[in-house]
Symmetry: C2
Subunit: 497 residues, 2 copies
C-alpha cells in the first residue's frame, strides 16, 4: 500500500492519458499539516438534500410547523448571526441543468463534467476525487444516504466511472479506496447473487476488516475500531411515507438521522474526517411529482441536520455545509380558491396521503373498474376524483397519455398533476431544473461559502482545509450550440397539416 | 394642513373604529430626529420584482449571460462582502399564499392582512401607512412601477382601501396624502373621462402644484421643484417584449430604469426620501406562464438596480433593499433531452419569441384555419407545433379545455405548457405560490435584513430608521381550518360513477 506522501507525490508525476488512473494536477501538490485552530475545520459534514427546489424547502417548512409545531432547522439556522449563506451555480459541463453525478463530481473533483459520468471528463480522463486526496492527507471519509450507497451523489465524492449507472464498479472502488463508513441501500451491488462478476463483495469488505451490517440491530452494536459497510435494503431505502404511512408493506430501515448519528459516533473517533450525508429520496419524490413523499424526506433530512448540529456543539472544529445538488420539478404550493384562501386547507390534505405515488400506482393499475380505482385512490390519499378527471389521467397510467408539455408526459407526472387539485402543490415537470441553489455554512471555514459560489469551489475549499494544494485539470464549459431557426417537434407532420 | 408633529400626536389619540381613518398605535409615538451617520440611512430604495420565483431569477441570469454577456447585477451583488442576504416569509393573514396587496401592506403597515385589501384589517380597521409616517417625519416619498401606479404593490406603501381593485380611490389618496413622485401607468384612474366620479384628478394634481406628465419627453424636462405625477399609459405599461419584439404595435414608454433614474434625480434633492421601485410585470408574465415576457421584465428590473447602485455610490447614506413580494408559478428551465443536453438549446429559443402570450393569443384566436394558426405561432415564437399538439391546446384557447390540474385550466396556462416544449421553461400554475423569497440589502441599515425575516419587520425597520416609534395594531394569523376527511371535486358525481 502506498504511503500518503507517496500517493500525493504520484499525483504530481501521473501522466495525462484518457485511461490513466489519475489525471495530472495542474498545480503543484504537497501536504501541509492543517493548522488546528478556530479558522480551519478538522471535521467536515457536507449535507445534501438531493433535488431540493426552493419550493420544496418552503413546503417542508409549512409541514414542519403543522406537524412538529416548529420551523425547519434549516430556517432556524438562518437566524444565527454566525451563519454564512450563499447561492451556488450547479451547472454541469454539458448543460445548465445538471444531474446528480455531474453535480456531486464538481464538489468531488473541482471539475464540471458532462451529465451521467462520475469524475470522468468528456474524453474519458479520470479525475482525482476528494476522498482520495483527503484520505491521503489522513482524513477518514464517510458516506451516508437514503439511496443506494453507490448512487450518483455519494459516488461523486469517492469514485470515478464512465457511467453513474455502474453501481457495481463504484462499490468495488469504495473497497479499493477504503472509504471508512458507508451507510445506505444498494445491497444488489455488493452481493455475489446479483453482481455480474459473481464476486462476493461483502465478503471482500469483511476480509479487509470491515464491519458489514444488514440490519438496524447490526448498526446499534457496530464496533468503533473497524471501518463500516452498512447496507439496509436491496435498492434505495424505502420512502419514509411508505415506511410509516400504513398502507404499503415495506421494510422499516434506519432513518437518515439514526445513520448520521451512528456515522458521527464512529468517525468522531478519528482526528479528522469528512462525511457526506444525503437525503437522496427528496429528489426521487420530486421526479415523481410526489409532494407528500418528498416533503417527508425533507423532514428526515432536517432531523439529520439536528444530529449534525449536536455533534458540532461538542466538536466546535466541525464545519457544516448544507445544500442541494440541484432543484427538481420546482414544486410550489399554489394559490387555490378565491383570494387563495383554500391553499392552507389543500396543504393540510397532505396529512391524509399515506403512500408514495409509485406504491399507489401499483394498486391503481390493478383496479378492476372505475369505482375500485376511485376507491383505492381515496383510501390512499383522501382525494375523491371526479369521473371526468379520472378519464383524463387513465391514459397516462396505461402509458398512452399525451401532455401539452412533454416534461409531464408520464404516469407519475399526470398523477402529480391530479393530486395537485388535492394538495395545492404541483411541479413544472418530472425533471431537474437549472435553478441556482441555496447553501448554508456554519463553523470554522464557513466564511469561504458566502454570497455566490461555483460548485467547483467546494472541492477547492475542502482540499484547502486539509492543507493540500491540488487541482484537477479543468474542462471547458459547453457554450451551447447556435440557436436553430426554430425547434420542431415534427416538421413533416406540420407541413402536411 | 396638519403639521407633522400634530399628525404624529394624533396617531396616539386616534380611536379604534372600523371606519376610523387612523388606527390606534399599540406603542407610544413620537418624533426623534434620525441620527445621520453611517448606521442609519437617509434614503431608502425598496426594489420589488413582483412575483419573482427563484427559478425566474435563475432564468433571467441565463438570459443576461446570453444577451448581455454578464450575470445579473442581482447575483453580482451577492459577491460583495458588505451585502446582507435574507429569506422572507411573505404569508398574508388569510393564506400562506399571499397576493401583492397583502404582501405590500405588510411592508407598508407592519401588519398581515387578508389578501385583496390594502392596509385594511379583516374587520375593516384602517392602518397607518409607511408613507404617512415617513411623510410626517419629513421624508419625501416616491412610487415607480411598470404597472398602473395605483396597483397593489405601490398602493401598499401609501393607501388604505377595502379592495385593491379600487384604483380610483387609491389615486385620490395619493393626492390627499401628497405622494411626492409617482411614475408608471394607469391613466384611467386619474382621467375624468374614465373615472366613475367624473373628477379630473389630473387637474387636481396640477392645481396642487404637481408636474403632470404624459410622455417620455415630459419626464425628460420635468421640474425639480415640484412633486411629480407621470402616467405613461392607460393601464399597465406594455411588456418590454411587446415594445421591442417587433410584431405587436404597442406604445413605447419610459423604461423602468429611466423612470428610476428620473425619480432619484428628483428625490435626491430632498434631505430624506423613500422610494419604491417595482418591476411589476414580472408577475404578470408569470401569471400568463409566459417565460419570454417575464424574463425580459426581469432584465429591465436588473437595469433599475444598476441605476440605484449608481445613486448609492454618490449618496452612501442610501439603503437598498431588493426583493419580491411573492413567487408566481415557480418557473424553471427543465432538463430536456438525453442527459438534459437539449436544455441550453431550448433556452436559446427564447430569443426567437417576439411577443407576449396575450398579444400572441389575440392573433391566434383570429386564425382562420389550422395552417394559419401554426404559421402565426411560428412567426411569433419560432415554434413549429405538431397538429396533434395543436389539437390539444385549441380547446383551451376556446375556453373549453379541461386540465389535469385546475391551476393550469386556462388559455394562458395551456399556451405556457405548449411553449415549454420550445423553451424548456414551464410553470406549476398561473397563480402565486407560498415560497419564502430572497432579499438583498446593501448600505446603512442593511444589517437589519439578515438571515430570516417576517415581511412585517420591513415596516418596523423603515419607521425605525426615521427615528419614529410607531406600531399598528396586529391581527391574528388565520391558523387554517381543520383538515377535512378528504377534498372532493364533485362528490355526487363520484358516488354515481
Amino acid at each position: 500500500m502506498k504511503t500518503r506522501r507517496a500517493f500525493l507525490q504520484s499525483l504530481a508525476a501521473a501522466p495525462v492519458l484518457g485511461g490513466a488512473c489519475v489525471a495530472r494536477p495542474s498545480a503543484s501538490v504537497g501536504v501541509r499539516p492543517a493548522p488546528i485552530g478556530t479558522g480551519t475545520p478538522r471535521h467536515i459534514i457536507h449535507l445534501v438534500a438531493d433535488g431540493m427546489s426552493s419550493g420544496i424547502l418552503t413546503c417542508a417548512n409549512h409541514y414542519s410547523r403543522l406537524t412538529r409545531h416548529r420551523p425547519l432547522t434549516w430556517f432556524e439556522l438562518t437566524r444565527r448571526p454566525e451563519l454564512r449563506m450563499a447561492f451556488m451555480d450547479v451547472r454541469s459541463q454539458s448543460s445548465w441543468v445538471t444531474d446528480s453525478s455531474a453535480s456531486s463530481s464538481a464538489w468531488g473533483s473541482g471539475v464540471r463534467i458532462p451529465n451521467g459520468k462520475v469524475n470522468q471528463t468528456s474524453s474519458g480522463g479520470k479525475l482525482v476525487t476528494l476522498y482520495e486526496v483527503l484520505g491521503a492527507a489522513g482524513w477518514q471519509r464517510g458516506l451516508v444516504t437514503t439511496t443506494e450507497v453507490t448512487h450518483a451523489t455519494p459516488a461523486g465524492f469517492a469514485a470515478c466511472v464512465k457511467s453513474r449507472a455502474d453501481g457495481e464498479d463504484i462499490a468495488l472502488q469504495y473497497l479499493e479506496r477504503r472509504v471508512d463508513v458507508m451507510l445506505g441501500g444498494g445491497r444488489k451491488h455488493f452481493a455475489k447473487e446479483s453482481r455480474r462478476d459473481k464476486r462476493d463483495l461483502r465478503g471482500d469488505f469483511r476480509s479487509r476488516g470491515y464491519a458489514v451490517m444488514d440490519t438496524p440491530g447490526d448498526l446499534a452494536s457496530a464496533p468503533f475500531d473497524a471501518p463500516w459497510l452498512g447496507i439496509f435494503a436491496g435498492g434505495h431505502l424505502p420512502y419514509v411515507i411508505d415506511q410509516f404511512g400504513g398502507i404499503s408493506k415495506v421494510e422499516t430501515v434506519p432513518q437518515l438521522a439514526a445513520m448520521t448519528r451512528a456515522a458521527l459516533r464512529r468517525l468522531g473517533q478519528a482526528e479528522r474526517f469528512v462525511l457526506q450525508v444525503e437525503g437522496g429520496r427528496v429528489d426521487m419524490g420530486c421526479h415523481n411529482d410526489d409532494a407528500a413523499a418528498a416533503i417527508r424526506e425533507m423532514i428526515a433530512f432536517d432531523e439529520a441536520i439536528d444530529v449534525c448540529l449536536g455533534f458540532q456543539r461538542e466538536h466546535p472544529d466541525t464545519l457544516l455545509v448544507i445544500t442541494t445538488d440541484h432543484a427538481t420539478g420546482n414544486p410550489g404550493l399554489n394559490g387555490i380558491g378565491d383570494n387563495y384562501e383554500k391553499s392552507n386547507q389543500a396543504f393540510r390534505n397532505l396529512l391524509s396521503i399515506r403512500q408514495s405515488i409509485p406504491e399507489l400506482g401499483k394498486r391503481l393499475v390493478l383496479a378492476e373498474d372505475a369505482g375500485q380505482f376511485a376507491a383505492r385512490l381515496f383510501e390512499s390519499t383522501g382525494y375523491m376524483i371526479a369521473p371526468r378527471r379520472r378519464e383524463l389521467v387513465e391514459p397516462f397510467l396505461k402509458k398512452k397519455g399525451y401532455a401539452l408539455f412533454d416534461g409531464l408526459n408520464s404516469d407519475v407526472g399526470a398523477m402529480g398533476q391530479v393530486l395537485a387539485n388535492h394538495t395545492g402543490i404541483s411541479f413544472t415537470s418530472t425533471q431537474h431544473t437549472s435553478d441556482h441553489v441555496p447553501l448554508l455554512a456554519l463553523g470554522p471555514g464557513a466564511d469561504a461559502f458566502s454570497g455566490f459560489i461555483e460548485n467547483t469551489e467546494v472541492f477547492e475549499r475542502y482540499v484547502g482545509f486539509a492543507g493540500v494544494r491540488f487541482r484537477n485539470p479543468q474542462e471547458s464549459l459547453v457554450a451551447g450550440v447556435d440557436p436553430e431557426p426554430g425547434s420542431a417537434e415534427n416538421v413533416a407532420e406540420y407541413l402536411l397539416g
